[in-house]
C-alpha cells in the first residue's frame, strides 16, 4: 500500500516517524479512507482530504493494574498519560496541569427538571484558564515540542486563544493567536493578558479558520504549531480525558446519557472515542450509552442535519450569543451525526433566550456559573427531557465547558442588584427586603 506523505506544513524537525516520542501514539490514520502515515504535524489525508487521527498501541491485558496506576496518578489529565499521545515524563514538563475537574451531583437541578435518576454536571470551568480548552492545548504543546515548533498558534472563538496564550507562557513558547474581532471582552482580555500576540480578524470564526489554513501553507507559518490545525490530531485527543474522568468519578461506570456541546463537533467525537477505549481496555462494563449533542439555534447546522435526516452538514452563517459554539462549518459534524444515531442519542438546539434562562437556572440551583455553552447544554437537556428523548430516570452527565465570567454580557441585562439602598435598616425595610 502506498504511504502518502501528508505534509500540511513545514516540519522543522524533519521527523515524521518513530523518533517522535509521543507515548502510545503509533501513527496517524485517516478517518475516511483508513490510510496510515507516520506521526507528524499533519491533519489532512493527501488521498482524500479526510481528517487524520491518532492510532494507538494501548496497554493490553491488565485492566486492574492500569486502573491502579491511573488512580495513583496526579490529580490532572496526566493520570491518563498511558492513553494519550504524550511522552511518559509529561507530568514533569512545564505545563498548566489541567483536568480532573469536579463532577457535581446536581440534585437541585434534577428536582427542577423532573429528573429522578442521577444528574451530574461535569464542570470544566475549573480548569486553569476556565474552559475545557486547557485539556486539548496541553496535549498539543507536547506535540509542538516533539515536532520542534517555536510558536504556538490557533484560530479561536475565544476560550482556545486564552488557553494557548497561557500554555505557551508556561512552556516558554511564543504565541500568536487569531480570533474574530468582535468577541466578548472577557475572552479578549483573557487571551491578551498572557503576553502573546492576539490578532482580531474582521470576520467570523470560519473566516479566521480559513485565514489560518492559508497562513499554514505560507512560509510565514513555518515553525508554527497551530494547535487546532496542523496539531489537531493530537490536540483533539485531549477531549478524551473528559470521558475518562467522568467514568472514573462515577466509580468506573459509564453514564447512561451525556449531553455535550457542539462547536466543531470534535469534543463529542473524542468523548465517544474515550468511552469506547475504556470499554475495550476493560476499565468499565460494556453496556449502551447515549450521546446527545447541543447547539444554539443561531448556529445549528448539525442539529438541522440531524432533524432532517441528512448525513452531511450544510454550513450556516452563525448568529448567536453562544459565540464559543459559533462555528458555521463544523468539520466533525458528519461524525457527530453518526455517533448520535449509533448510540441512540440526538442533536437538539435552543434559542438565545433559552440559553440565558438555562445559565441562570444552573446558577440558581447548583451555584455553578456557566458560560453560554453551558447554557446551551443545560437548556438542551431540559428540552430533551420535555420531548421524551432523554430518560429522566437514568444517570445523565451534562457538560459545562466554560466559566460564566467570560460571557457576562449574556446575563448582565437580567442579573443586576436587587436594590440600591442607603446603609441603614430603614432603607432596607423600605426596599421590601426585610
Amino acid at each position: 500500500m502506498a504511504v502518502h506523505t501528508a505534509s500540511t506544513s513545514a516540519d522543522p524537525s524533519g521527523t515524521t516517524d518513530s523518533r517522535v516520542d509521543l507515548g502510545p501514539a503509533a501513527a496517524l490514520s485517516c478517518r475516511e479512507c483508513g490510510e496510515r502515515i507516520p506521526l507528524g504535524p499533519h491533519f489532512a489525508c493527501t488521498a482524500c482530504f479526510g481528517p487524520l487521527e491518532i492510532a494507538y498501541e494501548l496497554p493490553d491485558g491488565d485492566p486492574e493494574g492500569l486502573r491502579k496506576r491511573i488512580e495513583a496518578g496526579p490529580n490532572n489529565i496526566w493520570r491518563y498519560a498511558e492513553l494519550l499521545p504524550v511522552p511518559a515524563g509529561v507530568a514533569d514538563t512545564p505545563n498548566l496541569n489541567p483536568g480532573f475537574t469536579k463532577l457535581v451531583r446536581a440534585e437541585n437541578l434534577a428536582r427542577e427538571l423532573g429528573v429522578t435518576g442521577e444528574l451530574h454536571i461535569k464542570d470544566d470551568s475549573g480548569n486553569p484558564t476556565h474552559s475545557f480548552k486547557d485539556r486539548v492545548v496541553a496535549i498539543a504543546v507536547q506535540a509542538a515540542r516533539a515536532f520542534g515548533f517555536t510558536t504556538l498558534s490557533c484560530s479561536s472563538t475565544g476560550n482556545l486563544a486564552g488557553a494557548v496564550g497561557a500554555a505557551a507562557a508556561r512552556a516558554g513558547l511564543r504565541s500568536c493567536v487569531f480570533i474574530p474581532h468582535d468577541l466578548e471582552q472577557g475572552k479578549v482580555v483573557m487571551a491578551a493578558v498572557y503576553g502573546g500576540e492576539l490578532v482580531g480578524i474582521e470576520g467570523n470564526y470560519d473566516d479566521v479558520n480559513r485565514f489560518c489554513s492559508e497562513l499554514i501553507g505560507d512560509p510565514i507559518g513555518e515553525n508554527w504549531g497551530f494547535v487546532n490545525v496542523n496539531l489537531r490530531p493530537y490536540y483533539a485527543e485531549g477531549s478524551k480525558t473528559l470521558a475518562y474522568e467522568i467514568c472514573e468519578q462515577l466509580g468506573w461506570r459509564l453514564p447512561d446519557q451525556l449531553v455535550v456541546p457542539i462547536a466543531s463537533g470534535s469534543q463529542l467525537t473524542k468523548i465517544d472515542k474515550g468511552l469506547r477505549e475504556l470499554i475495550a481496555l476493560g476499565l468499565v462494563e460494556d453496556r449502551p450509552y447515549k450521546i446527545f449533542g447541543a447547539q444554539a439555534e443561531g448556529c445549528s447546522p448539525v442539529s438541522q442535519a440531524y432533524k432532517n435526516g441528512h448525513d452531511v452538514v450544510r454550513p450556516v452563517r452563525p448568529s448567536t450569543i453562544a459565540k464559543s459554539l459559533a462555528i458555521g462549518n463544523p468539520a466533525d459534524g458528519p461524525y457527530v451525526l453518526d455517533i448520535a444515531r449509533r448510540t441512540g442519542g440526538a442533536v437538539e438546539d435552543v434559542n438565545d433566550e433559552q440559553v440565558v434562562d438555562a445559565i441562570k437556572l444552573l446558577a440558581r440551583t447548583e451555584g455553578i456559573f456557566a458560560e453560554t455553552a453551558g447554557g446551551v447544554t443545560v437548556g438542551v437537556t431540559r428540552k430533551l427531557i420535555e420531548s421524551g428523548a432523554l430518560d429522566p430516570t437514568l444517570t445523565t452527565v451534562v457538560l459545562n465547558t466554560g466559566d460564566g465570567l467570560k460571557t457576562l454580557d449574556a446575563v448582565a441585562p437580567t442579573s443586576q442588584a436587587t436594590a440600591i439602598i442607603r446603609p441603614n435598616l430603614d432603607s432596607f425595610r423600605e426596599a421590601g427586603l426585610a
Binding site: 475516511e32 489532512a44 482524500c48 480559513r210 487546532n228 463537533g265 462549518n329
Partner: protein
C-alpha cells in the same frame, strides 16, 4: 476567464510546489477541469467518485464559500481568486 487558484500544501506535489497557479473557466467546475488538464491527478483529490466536492474540502471563490453559492456551478469572474482548503475543526 482566467482565475488564480491557491493550492494547499498537500496538493502542491501536483503543481511543482507552486502555491498559486492560474486556470481557465467560467465556473468552478470548469476551473477544476482545467486544473486537472494541466496538473493531472489533482481533480481526484478535490472531487469524489461522483464528481462532487469531497466533504472535507472547502473551496472559496474570492471570499465566498461555494457551498453558500452554487457549488461547482459558482461563477468565476475573470481575475477571481479560488482557494482550496482542507476542512479543519476548531473552537
Amino acid at each position: 476567464m482566467s482565475v488564480n487558484v491557491r493550492i494547499p500544501t498537500i496538493l502542491r506535489t501536483y503543481t511543482d510546489g507552486k502555491s498559486e497557479v492560474s486556470a481557465e473557466g467560467a465556473n468552478l467546475g470548469e476551473v477544476l477541469a482545467d486544473l486537472e488538464r494541466n496538473h493531472q491527478g489533482i481533480g481526484a483529490r478535490v472531487l469524489d467518485d461522483t464528481g462532487k466536492l469531497r466533504r472535507f474540502v472547502n473551496v472559496y471563490v474570492n471570499d465566498d464559500d461555494v457551498r453558500f453559492a452554487e457549488g461547482l456551478a459558482t461563477q468565476t469572474p475573470d481575475g477571481a481568486g479560488v482557494s482550496i482548503i482542507p476542512a479543519v475543526a476548531g473552537g
